[in-house]
Every structure is written in structure tokens, then in C-alpha cells.
């Protein structure tokens, strides 16, 4: 392994295109170790594509991606199990395995990647469930019996099962009521501090961006057009960023929170 660099994720000159359509166009982005980075962008503008490319679900056309000091191409071809311990991913809809109970869902990455006794696996799974604010009794439920907020929490517990260094969140608060969304934001901050995570978060939730994120990156036209703390983005004069943060809806949210 190379010397641990300052960056958890390092993306350089990335191009992703489907057929003739270029979604990500020469994009470069660095995520620092231990920070929470929020990614904003227009719907259908390639936010999810960028995230899925970084974790290797979508093939890049060209460019270079480094996650946790490892080249993504190497991880994918040589050692997919190493990747599992490297990152945890919270999908937008949770993507819980519907035929497994909550506890089995959380245990699944451990069972597949690590050798440990069933007893310890049970204890750690329950520990994770409690850390995300669920009760041990929720462990025996099936995903179809969970509410939206609980599904996200279980998915977060599963993403954290192997104590990854990097956590990817795809719209973690979408579909949650403001109270649950606020709680979820607080949970992410607590876990980030407790476990020393680097968090890469795709979101539209201005409250999350404001309260949780150390830095915010704006994706427009396939490039990162602005990156920095929330304040610097508010001051940015890129037309799309301006429209995003100074639209009527955003103004109300930001006015209230500042």
C-alpha cells in the first residue's frame, strides 16, 4: 500500500459516456480524509453516475480514480473483497435484501468477508443496529415491515458492517420527513466522529448540506464547477450554482438556518 495520502478519494480527468452522450466530462475531484463532502447537481446531471463510477459499478471511459489509496481498476479486477472492507454504500432505496431479516442483512458483509463466530456476529450486528438508533428487537423484522426511515437506518448499519473508511451515501434523507431527516443528519455526524469516517454524500437536502457537510461540490455540465465550504458556494457566481442556492426554495431554507 502506498503511504496514506491526505485524500480518501482522488478523481482525475474522469470521463464517463454512454454511447455518444458524455455524462462526466474531464472531472477532477478530491475528497479529504475524514471530511463529509456533499455533492449537488441537477437531477439527471450525473451525480449518481459519478458516485457509481467511483465505486466501480459503472465503467469509466477514461481517467483515473483512486479510492483509499488504491486504483479502482485494481480493486475491481484483483480483489473485490478488499473493496468491501474499504467502503460502505447506502443506496437511495436502501437496497436491503428482502428475503433476509434486518439482522441477517447487517451480518451479510461480515459473513461473506470475515471469519468470525455466529455469536460475535450477532453481537456486532446488534451493536451496529443500536448505533444507528434501532432496537435489538428490530433485528428479526423483514425489510418489507420497515418504514422508510428505518430502512435507511438498517441500510446504514449494513454499510457500516465492516467498519469501512469511506461511506458513500446516495440521497440519504430523500423521502424522509424533516424530523427524521434531521435525526439522520445528526446520526451521520455522530457516526462520522465515532468511526472516523470519510463521507461522500449525494444530496439535494439543503439542510443536510448546511449542517452536515464540511465541503460541498457542485456538479454541472459534467464538471465540478464549484467546491468548498457552504459559504464559498453561496458566494460563487457560476450561473447554475447561483440558481441552485439562490432560488426561492433555497433562500427560505438558508435564511432560516443562518
Amino acid at each position: 500500500m502506498p503511504a496514506p495520502s491526505e485524500f480518501a478519494i482522488h478523481v482525475n480527468d474522469l470521463v464517463v459516456s454512454f454511447g455518444r452522450k458524455t455524462i462526466i466530462d474531464n472531472l477532477s475531484l478530491d475528497v479529504r480524509r475524514g471530511e463529509i463532502l456533499g455533492l449537488v447537481g441537477a437531477s439527471g446531471g450525473g451525480k449518481s453516475v459519478l458516485m457509481r463510477t467511483i465505486i466501480g459499478l459503472i465503467r469509466k471511459s477514461s481517467g483515473h480514480i483512486d479510492v483509499g489509496g488504491l486504483d479502482i481498476d485494481d480493486i475491481r479486477t484483483r480483489d473485490p473483497h478488499a473493496a468491501a472492507g474499504q467502503w460502505g454504500i447506502l443506496f437511495q432505496q436502501g437496497a436491503l435484501f428482502s428475503s433476509l431479516t434486518v439482522r441477517q442483512n447487517v451480518q451479510f458483509p461480515m459473513r461473506e468477508n470475515v471469519r468470525m463466530s455466529q455469536e460475535m456476529m450477532d453481537e456486532i450486528a446488534i451493536a451496529k443496529l443500536e448505533m444507528v438508533g434501532l432496537s435489538p428487537d428490530d433485528g428479526d423484522k423483514f425489510p418489507s415491515e420497515l418504514s422508510g426511515g428505518m430502512t435507511k437506518r438498517v441500510a446504514l448499519a449494513r454499510a457500516l458492517a465492516l467498519d469501512p473508511a469511506i461511506l458513500f451515501l446516495d440521497e440519504p434523507t430523500s423521502g424522509l420527513d424533516p424530523i427524521s431527516a434531521g435525526e439522520f443528519d445528526a446520526l451521520i455526524m455522530t457516526l462520522q466522529k465515532t468511526l472516523g469516517l470519510t463521507v461522500f454524500m449525494v444530496t439535494h437536502d439543503l439542510d443536510s448540506l448546511n449542517t452536515v457537510c464540511d465541503r460541498v461540490a457542485a456538479l454541472a455540465g459534467g464538471k465540478i464547477v464549484a467546491i468548498g465550504p457552504m459559504k464559498s458556494l453561496l458566494a460563487s457566481d457560476h450561473p447554475w450554482v447561483k440558481a441552485y442556492f439562490h432560488g426561492k426554495r433555497s433562500r427560505t431554507v438558508l435564511a432560516q438556518s443562518s
Binding site: 500500500m1 496514506p4 472492507g85 428482502s98 428475503s99 461480515m110 470475515v114 471469519r115 468470525m116 463466530s117 460475535m120 453481537e123 456486532i124 446488534i126 451493536a127 451496529k128 443500536e130 448505533m131 435489538p136 428487537d137 433485528g139 428479526d140 423483514f142 425489510p143 418489507s144 415491515e145 457500516l160 465492516l162 467498519d163 466522529k193 465515532t194 468511526l195 472516523g196
Partner: protein
């Protein structure tokens, strides 16, 4: 950075036991962590309090922190009494894990093999009752929907019905014809082969004719339809149920039975007799071809003997059964679809149940019809 195998030193000082973990206490080494905890158990149980010294530790995650926490819970104090030299970054994690696993999840379900067996038998009995009730309910709902359609013919979903008819009828013709053709050919070949011993080859025509028109034609086609279209109905309606599309329909004031189930069942009831007819013809054709090529019976003789051997009654018996079998398949398939619950597994289970149950019921129904026709002398 090479991974360092975790190790554990213990220093006993009076009633207090100091744990000095070293190396990487991470989930990758979970197995080693468990092995390390085992020999220390007696010492921990004897100790009044536990002190954890983080001085030599290189890295720690939830699994490692939980191992330490679990060990310290064995002591008389039941928790870590003191922590020394903890790096700032692990302080929160240790604090967090003090809270977890404090309450045991409530035990659920009865224990013991016999009671589990009894429970599953009991559940099976009740689910059989539920099955019968669900079948009758859908049958009733279909009847109500049909009555509505007769009163207001315009409310019939004609497009949907025709589309379903195209899918379960027209598109099924090639495979149905091929299979029944082969079955007819096989029956004829076997018949000729064995009847030859008695010099009774010409009776093969009687056998093929009666068997195909009365029983095999419709039965094979019904089983094929159950497997081909019944499973599709269950999967379609089941996934609509999963995605709340059926609930959406109801909230718009539409009756799912009228919109989804009736067109499908009607299409089956229309398609199955037609398919059974085509199947019977294909089987006779296959039988005739084999009789000609393998048995040396010319087509003209085959047709003449067929004319003598079978009467319209045989054909009627076969055709009368077809719509009833279609109704059973349609009701089972759609009602199983409506019983799908949230998970992908449930969809798979209901689809399997649908096919198995409809094939079983089709054969039972065929038996009942045989008894019925025998007693009325048809």
C-alpha cells in the same frame, strides 16, 4: 502498512486487571480477537474491575472495541473501570459501545422439534382453509364483475382482454401445437409397437382418437397454459401488488378485479378451448403421420377408421372441460398474485404455488369430469 496481528497482555494488580491490547483490533482479525478473549475469561471473572491500556494498540474499530467491552463486562464491575492512554479518535467509539447490547432481544417462537412440527402442520391446515377462502372470494368477485359487465357492456376492458388473448392464445399456438403433435406421435408409435404383438395395429387409431380428443389434448394444453400463462399472471399481478400499483388503482375508484383479473381470466377462458382444439388436431396429425410412416397405414385409411372410432361426443367431452380448467387456472394464478407481499422471495414463492396448485387442480378437475361423464353416459 502491514496488518499487525492483534495480541493481548494482561497485568493483574490486586483486584484490578489491566488489559493491554496491541496490534490491529479490527474486524478483519475478528477470529483472532475471539481466540484472544477465550483464555482470559477466568482472570476476568475473578477480577473486580478492568482497566484498559491503549498504549500499544495500533488501530481499533467496532469489532475490536466490542471485544474489549465484552471482556470487561465479565468482571465484577461489569464495565470498564478505567481507560488509559486512549487516543482521542477512539474515545467516542468506546463510549458508544458501552451503551450497546445491554438488553437481550426478546426470545421468539416455541422451541423444540416436535412443537415446531406441530406448529407447521397447524399452519398448513389453516393456510389450506385460507386458500379455499381466497379461491371462492376471487370466484365471487369475478362473478360480481361479470354481472356488472353484463349490465353495462361498455365497461368491459376490451383492449386489455384482446391483448391478453393475444398473449395467452395467439402467441401460445406454436409451442402448444408442437408439444401436442409430439405427444400424439409418441402415443401412436407406442400403440403400434405394442398392439403389433396382437395384430391389433388398426386399433391404434381408436386409441389415439379417443385419448387425444377426450383427455390428453385438453389436459396437456391446460398444464402447459398453467405453466406458461398462469405463472406470468401471478408474477405480473404480484409485482404490481409489490409496487403498490394495485392500491393506486383502488384509490382511483377502479376495481382491480374488473381492470386486471377479469380480462385475464376471460382471455384464458376463451383461449384454452381454442388451444385445446388446435392441440387435439395437432396430436391427431402427429398420430396419423406416425401411423403412416411407422405403421404403414395410409392417411386415407387412418381418416376412415378415425371416422368410425370417434364420435362427436368424445370431442364434446374434451371441449366442455376446457373453459372450466381455464377458469381454475385463471383464478389460482390471479389470486396467488394478489397474495404477494413485499419481498422478492414472496413473489417467487407465490408464482411456484400458483403453477403447482393450478396443475394439481386441473388434474383433479379432469378426474371429477371423468366420473361425471361416465355417470351420465357420455
Amino acid at each position: 502498512m502491514v496488518a499487525a496481528v492483534p495480541s493481548l497482555d494482561t497485568i493483574a494488580a490486586g483486584d484490578a486487571l489491566t488489559l493491554r491490547p496491541a496490534g490491529d483490533w479490527t474486524v478483519t482479525h475478528a477470529h483472532d480477537l475471539e481466540a484472544l478473549a477465550e483464555p482470559v475469561r477466568p482472570q476476568l471473572k475473578a477480577a473486580k474491575s478492568v482497566v484498559v491500556d491503549f498504549n500499544a494498540l495500533r488501530s481499533l474499530d467496532t469489532a475490536g472495541a466490542w471485544s474489549l467491552e465484552k471482556m470487561s463486562r465479565l468482571s465484577a464491575a461489569g464495565e470498564i473501570a478505567a481507560i488509559s492512554d486512549i487516543p482521542e479518535r477512539y474515545r467516542e467509539l468506546m463510549a458508544e459501545l458501552r451503551q450497546v447490547n445491554r438488553q437481550k432481544p426478546s426470545a421468539s417462537g416455541a422451541s423444540g422439534a416436535i412443537s415446531a412440527r406441530l406448529e407447521s402442520i397447524g399452519r398448513a391446515v389453516f393456510s389450506a382453509k385460507d386458500d379455499a377462502a381466497a379461491f371462492l372470494q376471487v370466484l365471487g368477485e369475478l362473478g360480481v364483475a361479470l354481472f356488472d359487465i353484463i349490465r353495462h357492456p361498455r365497461s368491459l376492458r376490451l383492449t386489455s382482454t384482446v391483448y391478453q388473448l393475444y398473449k395467452v392464445g395467439w402467441q401460445a399456438i406454436p409451442i402448444m401445437a408442437l408439444i401436442t403433435f409430439l405427444i400424439g406421435a409418441i402415443i401412436a408409435q407406442q400403440g403400434i409397437f405394442h398392439f403389433r404383438k396382437f395384430g391389433a395395429e388398426s386399433y391404434v387409431v381408436d386409441m389415439v382418437g379417443i385419448l387425444v380428443l377426450r383427455e390428453i389434448g385438453v389436459l396437456i394444453v391446460a398444464i402447459m397454459v398453467a405453466g406458461r400463462s398462469g405463472s406470468a399472471y401471478t408474477a405480473e399481478i404480484g409485482s404490481m401488488k409489490m409496487r403498490e400499483e394495485i392500491d393506486a388503482l383502488s384509490t382511483m375508484g377502479l376495481d382491480p378485479v374488473e381492470v386486471l383479473i377479469l380480462p385475464r381470466v376471460m382471455a384464458l377462458v376463451i383461449a384454452l378451448p381454442i388451444l385445446a382444439f388446435i392441440g387435439a388436431m395437432a396430436a391427431l396429425y402427429g398420430g396419423g403421420l406416425v401411423a403412416w410412416l411407422y405403421g404403414g397405414m395410409s392417411p386415407a385409411i387412418f381418416i376412415a377408421r378415425l371416422h368410425e372410432a370417434v364420435s362427436v361426443t368424445h370431442f364434446e367431452v374434451g371441449m366442455i372441460k376446457a373453459p372450466f380448467m381455464a377458469l381454475v387456472i385463471g383464478i389460482i394464478a390471479t389470486s396467488e398474485g394478489m397474495r404477494v407481499r413485499g419481498s422478492a422471495e414472496s413473489l417467487g414463492r407465490q408464482t411456484t404455488t400458483s403453477v403447482v396448485k393450478s396443475i394439481f387442480l386441473v388434474i383433479v378437475l379432469d378426474g371429477l369430469f371423468a366420473v361425471f361423464f361416465a355417470s351420465i353416459g357420455m
